[in-house]
Structures are given as C-alpha cells and as structure tokens.
C-alpha cells in the first residue's frame, strides 16, 4: 500500500487528478475486485469521483438512484464492513438484490472524513464473500486518509485560483497538528463558511505565504491572523 500511496503523491506533484490506474493497483493490494471513491454527503447523495471499472460505476449509480446503500451509510460517518451482502437484505432491501445481480457479494465502505468535514466514501467490492484479508483494512484507512485530502482539495477549489494544482504542504490528515483543526473551526466561524471551505482557505493562505499550514494555523489560534479582515 505504501507504493500505492506514493503513486498518489507523485501524481499530485504533477498536478494531475486521481489517476484511475491507482484504483486498480489499490484494489489488487486490498484483495478486492474494485474500489472507488464517491464525493458528497448531502441530500443529493455521493457522486462517483474516482474508480475505473464498470461494476464500480454501476454500484454507485445504483445507490444514487435508490438513495440507500453501504456507501451512503459510510459517508454519514461510520465504516460499513459487509463481508456477506446476502445477510444484509433487511438493511438495504433494494440495493442488495441489485448489487448481487451485478455479481457483488462483499462490500467494504469507509467514510472520507476530517473530523466533522464529510467528503464522501471509499467503497471496495468483491465477487467472493468473506472478510478483508489481514492488514487490508489498515491499508484501506490509509488510502482513505490520502484520498480525503486530495478530493477535499479538488472539490472545494474556488475559481479565483487559476491553477488547480494541489499545493505544497499536502500531508496525510494524520500529520496535521491540532492547531490546524482548531484554526479550521475558527476560520469557519469568522467567515460563516463550512469547515471544508475553511480548511481550503487555510491551506491556500499557507501556500500564498509559502509557510507550513501548521504555522499559519498557530497564528490563527493565537489570534495574530484573522481571515475576515482581508477577505472583505
């Protein structure tokens, strides 16, 4: 999985989007047939954002149409691990038969979240029922963490920045210091925007200043820097 994460990282530096080929490699590492990420947790439900093969696209479309399914549940906050889909008919009465019809027998869906920021869900599926292989869940969480930031960045990039290139200072959520999350909350209250947008503004500010995000965040928490001053 380290190799897959490195691919994501290298790709970011070239300024491209999530390459579909990485999804294929990640699926192989996790021992599943397919993997995809879906964006959005709102009333319209998640939208397929990353994932190459047909079954993934159909699974996502299915959940979008039905308004229920493991991906939608995971996007709401908690991981949903379903080693045997057939046992969950009561939970998703329309999704289970339709997914089984696509040849899917096991589904593992992880939330893509940074605290209270919901980005979407990562969903892995397999034609053979049974739990994930040893260590695969930890790998999947690592992948989810990396994708969360990449997708969060793409989703909330605003138009006055011409280049959509991901910014320096990108790091897995795990390496964010607590000030980054505190500052995100403060900026959200200062500007009256969502946490997701507040995080993007914080990162953009760090990028513009050429400083690490944790340094800018520390300034916000110490009240040396406000975001509503220079945005009006």
């Amino acid at each position: 999985m380290a190799a897959v994460l490195a691919l994501l990282d290298g790709d970011r530096e070239r300024g491209a989007n999530l390459p579909q080929s990485v999804a294929v490699e990640a699926a192989a590492v996790l021992g599943v047939d397919g993997i995809y990420a879906a964006l959005g947790t709102g009333p319209t439900g998640p939208v397929l954002a990353w994932g190459p093969e047909t079954v993934s696209a159909k699974l996502e479309e299915l959940q979008f149409t039905l308004g229920h399914g493991p991906g939608i549940d995971a996007a709401a906050g908690a991981p949903v691990l379903v080693p045997d889909l057939a046992a969950e008919t009561a939970r998703w009465p329309m999704f289970v038969p339709a997914a089984t019809g696509l040849g899917v027998r096991a589904v593992f869906a992880l939330p893509l979240r940074i605290g209270a920021i919901g980005v979407g869900a990562l969903l892995a599926h397999r034609a053979v029922p049974g739990p994930l292989v040893d260590g695969a869940l930890t790998d999947a969480f690592a992948l989810a963490g990396a994708i969360t930031l990449l997708l969060a960045h793409r989703q909330f990039t605003w138009t006055d920045r011409a280049d959509d290139a991901p910014q320096p200072g990108w790091a897995p959520v795990a390496t964010y210091r607590v000030e980054v999350h505190q500052a995100t909350g403060m900026i959200s209250a200062q500007l009256g925007v969502s946490l997701a947008e507040a995080l993007v503004r914080l990162r953009a500010h760090a990028y513009a200043d050429g400083r690490p995000i944790s340094q800018v965040a520390a300034d916000v928490v110490a009240r040396r820097l406000r975001f509503d001053d220079h945005n009006r």
């Binding site: 940074i114 605290g115 963490g145 795990a174 209250a189 200062q190 009256g192």
Partner: protein, 254 residues
C-alpha cells in the same frame, strides 16, 4: 472518598462501558482524570495510534494547549512512542537525564515544569493501540502500587475503546480506533468554532464543551460534531456575552 472507593468507582465506570452506550472520548477523559486522582502524578493523557503508527493525543486530564503540545512532540520521539513501539512500560524517566533519548520532548516537558514522566502501553493481547502518559512535577519515584494501578487504568481504557461496540473481529479494532481519532479531530474543530464565536481561548472552549455535554447529558463527540458543522441548537453555549454585540457579526453556519 477514600482511595479504595475512588479506585472502585474508576472500575465501575469502566464496567459501565460494557453495558451502556457511552462516548469514547468522554470516557478516556474520565480515565485521565482518575489517573491524576489515584496516582502520585500531576497530569495524565492517552495517546492512540492511527493506521500510520503515528500517535495522537486523544484525552488528557487537563486540556491545556501546553500539555497537548507535549503529546504532539512525541510523534517523533518520546516516552509514549517508546512504550507504543516496545509494548513495555517506561517508568520513572528522569527528564533532565533524557536529553539524548528525547531531545525536543525532554526540553519542552521540563520547561512546562515536569521532572519525570512515565508511559504505560495500551495493549490487548498482541495489539498495542497507544499509551498512557503520566507527568510528575515533583522529584521522587512512582511506587510499584501506582505502576500497577496505572497499568490497570490503561488496560481499562483499552477495553473501553474496544467495547464501544461488540468486537468480534480484529478489523473492528482498526475501525474503533479510526472513529476515536476522528472524533478527536471533530473536537478540535468544535473548539475552534466555539473559541471564535465566544471570543475565548481554545482551552476555555473545551471546558465549556465538556461542561455543556455533561449538564445536558449529551455525548461529547455528538455535541462537538454539531458545534463544528453548525447544526447545534445550543444557543446559550454558542452565543457571545452581550458586551461583544457591537463587534458581533454573527456567521451563518452551513
């Protein structure tokens, strides 16, 4: 309360986690508080590892920025990292003599006024999920009885995390840890929102959040999520004191 009564209460609280629904972060804060009450230590905190093997402060006896900083410094090197990696206790580590072992951590801990430090692994069978960190501001060593009690409290915290739902598969452990760590991030975000809206420090914001969740019988993590994403209807928690009204520009949370 006698020490014995306190000890019994600590384990009754832990047993409750096996029976009732509870908030894992709130429970870990209670354990950290119990450590300071029961052991000859001045501050305590629990660090949990994420899927990268990186440790994160998850709960502390005092949520002061200075103490949280001491946990964060251990991401690279520190007693918690040692206890987590080795699965063994780090006991009576003299900070003045630990400059080489943990250069940044030893300096910062001494600057905060601590003399010695201990770290006890949080372990379930072969899996180590984090460490309990104890800080002492006075010279002296931790007694064997305190070490045993401390380790029991670390074990209780571990069981509490795992008992959050019924755990039958190893993979659920990773899931529970992930949830706990994400709840912690949510709390940091909520501290920021509250600090800004009420014009207080993030430390004060945490104290308010925790007091409000207790007074209103809410799960700390649920309240934090609502405050963070703007869906909280707790107006008396969120409103600014009247004297700030002139400056106020009430943000519309979305």
């Amino acid at each position: 309360m006698t020490r014995e009564e306190q000890l019994i209460e600590a384990f009754v609280e832990a047993a409750d986690t096996l029976v009732d629904e509870f908030d894992v972060i709130e429970f870990l804060h209670t354990v950290a508080g119990r450590c300071v009450q029961l052991l000859d230590v001045d501050a305590a905190g629990l660090m949990l590892a994420d899927q990268y093997g990186q440790l994160h402060a998850t709960a502390a006896s005092t949520e002061s920025a200075r103490l949280l900083e001491l946990f964060e410094l251990q991401a690279d090197a520190g007693p918690c990292m040692d206890a987590f990696r080795s699965g063994s206790q780090v006991i009576n580590a003299d900070l003045a003599a630990s400059q080489e072992r943990w250069p940044r951590f030893a300096d910062a801990a001494q600057a905060t006024g601590f003399v010695s430090v201990h770290a006890l692994p949080m372990r379930l069978r072969a899996t180590i999920i984090g460490a309990l960190n104890l800080f002492v501001a006075r010279p002296g060593t931790l007694s064997d009885a305190d070490v045993r009690t401390g380790q029991a409290l670390a074990d209780v915290a571990t069981i509490g995390i795992l008992a959050q739902r019924s755990v039958q598969q190893a993979e659920l452990l990773a899931t529970q840890l992930q949830q706990a760590l994400n709840s912690r991030i949510t709390i940091e975000q909520a501290k920021g929102v509250l600090a800004e809206r009420r014009r207080i420090t993030v430390d004060e914001a945490f104290a308010l959040l925790r007091a409000y969740s207790r007074d209103h019988n809410l799960h700390l993590s649920d309240l934090a999520r609502q405050v963070a994403d703007g869906t909280s209807t707790a107006t008396e928690l969120l409103s600014r004191p009247p004297r700030d009204e002139v400056r106020a520009r009430q943000p519309e949370p979305n």
